[in-house]
Symmetry: C2
Subunit: 423 residues, 2 copies
Amino acid sequence: MQYESLSKEEIKKSLSAEKKRYDAILKEKLSLDMSRGKPAAEQLDLAMPLLSVLSENTKFPKGPDYRNYGLQDGIPELKNLFGELFGVPSDYVYVAGNSSLNLMYDMISDAMLTGVLGSTPWCRAEGKVKFLCPVPGYDRHFNICEKLGIEMISVPMNEAGPDMNVVEDLVSNDPLIKGIWCVPRFSNPSGVTYSAETVSRLAKMKTAAPDFRIYYDNSYFVHTLYEDAPELVNIFDIAKEAGTEDRIYMFSSTSKITFAGGGIAVLIASPKNMASVKEKMGWKTIGFNKIWQYAHYLYLESVSKIKSIMKAQAELIRPKFEIVLDALERDFGDTDLVSWNAPKGGYFICLKCPNGTAKRIWTLCKKAGLTITPAGASHPLHIDDTDSYLRIAPTYPSCEDLKKATSVLMTVVKIAVLESLSK
Amino acid sequence: MQYESLSKEEIKKSLSAEKKRYDAILKEKLSLDMSRGKPAAEQLDLAMPLLSVLSENTKFPKGPDYRNYGLQDGIPELKNLFGELFGVPSDYVYVAGNSSLNLMYDMISDAMLTGVLGSTPWCRAEGKVKFLCPVPGYDRHFNICEKLGIEMISVPMNEAGPDMNVVEDLVSNDPLIKGIWCVPRFSNPSGVTYSAETVSRLAKMKTAAPDFRIYYDNSYFVHTLYEDAPELVNIFDIAKEAGTEDRIYMFSSTSKITFAGGGIAVLIASPKNMASVKEKMGWKTIGFNKIWQYAHYLYLESVSKIKSIMKAQAELIRPKFEIVLDALERDFGDTDLVSWNAPKGGYFICLKCPNGTAKRIWTLCKKAGLTITPAGASHPLHIDDTDSYLRIAPTYPSCEDLKKATSVLMTVVKIAVLESLSK
């Protein structure tokens, strides 16, 4: 429907029709969830062979006993495998526990308490430390800043990544800006893959803070849904040439390759950073679970096996994205009032609705038994001044539930659009 | 030998004989290690069935999918099991990743950055935060304080635990004293189990700091070597009655029950602390590896199974302790110049040599190809003013290697004792 050209009478009529539909939905007492980027059970089923690769007769490699303390930075097999996957030498790879978020938190809390490569601890900086937060972005990233007292400066996302003119201007002038959050491939939630130019400018930009760091959350690096998904250039290649590779902490995990919360997390960093990471992580732990690391190695085997796993994952996820995207196209393809990304990978669809409607949509969904990520979640401090962004996570529900959920969502968005037009 | 009654001539003669023995050892070019509290391969072999409890056909319990995100505080099966083991309700139990040291670090770094139950962040305290450190103690505990800029105040250990007169006097007067390190059963390295009175006084003492915390590292809770090992009373029972249970963080792990660095770590805390722990851990992670937790549950089964595992562990470890203890008794049973504990459990023997000899002993061992924990390691900042304490870890080497290592150690200690007598 071309909502923009509706007459007042038509708006009233349509709104009344949609509200009737909504009232009928209410009676169904639904309980549906498209709020978090969780894999569905069928995706997890794919990884079940991982549970059989170890047994009582497992022969571990010769050398350090993986069943004992040691090898803080992980088993060499996985250092090599992730090095190959991300295009870095294996000694850039730190293989850790199950949570890349935890590694991100560690890198920031360590910097707060003890600085970065000898810099003043950020908690003692002369003024409040600030981070750049491309918006819309990932709520758990912003939450770390909020809880650790880091001021967040929003930077708009465009189709090539964060607006680099804004980023460069800010970081070159303010030494209290110590970091930027990035999800460079299939960004959460906008689905954007950073362009080669964006990555290059991130690597090469001048920063007023010598201890500036890019928190490069490459969680969806291999999470493509379509063959023609845009590639991400290797930031380490560019940074090495520019002499800036110490500014990058790259993170990833297998949470959406093997088991969610039961995978293996990695940190990728320059040799200088790595030495410091090993030292500081060594204050906290003697090392991570190498047996689970080795099980992952036995299951993941090689880069090509990882890619074939991700193809099988895509087969399961793609139809779900298409349920939502097809409905959006059908119901809002003719209007500019509602827009969205059609991501080539990742876990999210980002929906932009008319200003001032996102909270209303969330509330109406909630009332109808459909949980979606709270409006504002993709913005620092949960404040979306436009009140227009919503994040849709289609992976977790079954296709049947998702169809139902999408139909509820469409009705609710229509109501919100029509309401905003009738104001 | 009764070293105290030797004449100058006898000392000279004995020293010369021991040095000849030492020179012969040098020629053997040994490479032996009794430095760290690591389990031996045979101990790890005991846990190999753990690797077979999961398989492709594993049926996980109904309810939340253990293969997916969720249950930040761990699976209910292990919360129940550890609750029963430690004598606390299961909602006091937070089941985490593989490292209890990491949990300890988290509790302290969180307090530094964001305070404790609403208190001022310790990094903003008016003055340097201080911890009480019973000595000899665990080097990794003290290292956390050192790295996070926490001042350490040494408190002497006696046979019932830390000297509680000293502890009470200090904590009741100085609000900057925010914590005390405790290893209450089979203390590292002194082997002491805290007496009921010590535990009771820890629970009941007045503290000037309202946000004072006991870091109660109960790593060796079930690690008994002999049936008549002293029991540890339940600090939570006493603290609950005294209204002080918020002051205790108890830690443990299965690193020395299943796999070292491949086990499951737990934090045990009061409901009020637990709510805060869940909130703050939630900034870092969506949760820990529940699949590995479930594998542990399937293997560990019950408290009685854990106890039978620890009996089997003791069968392997006890002869090793006895190799060292028998040699000490044989060579130094008649003198007061060298003393040691004969622990009923845990991983260490603490050796007290004449003042001013510990570094010398370490150096002579090193030169002979025997690695022992560096002198001073059991003291804050590695400074043992008496230069007399050494930590012996007998578990890791084979019995054959351990016999050799012990014989080297005996020769070296004799040299150091005789040298100190000839000064």
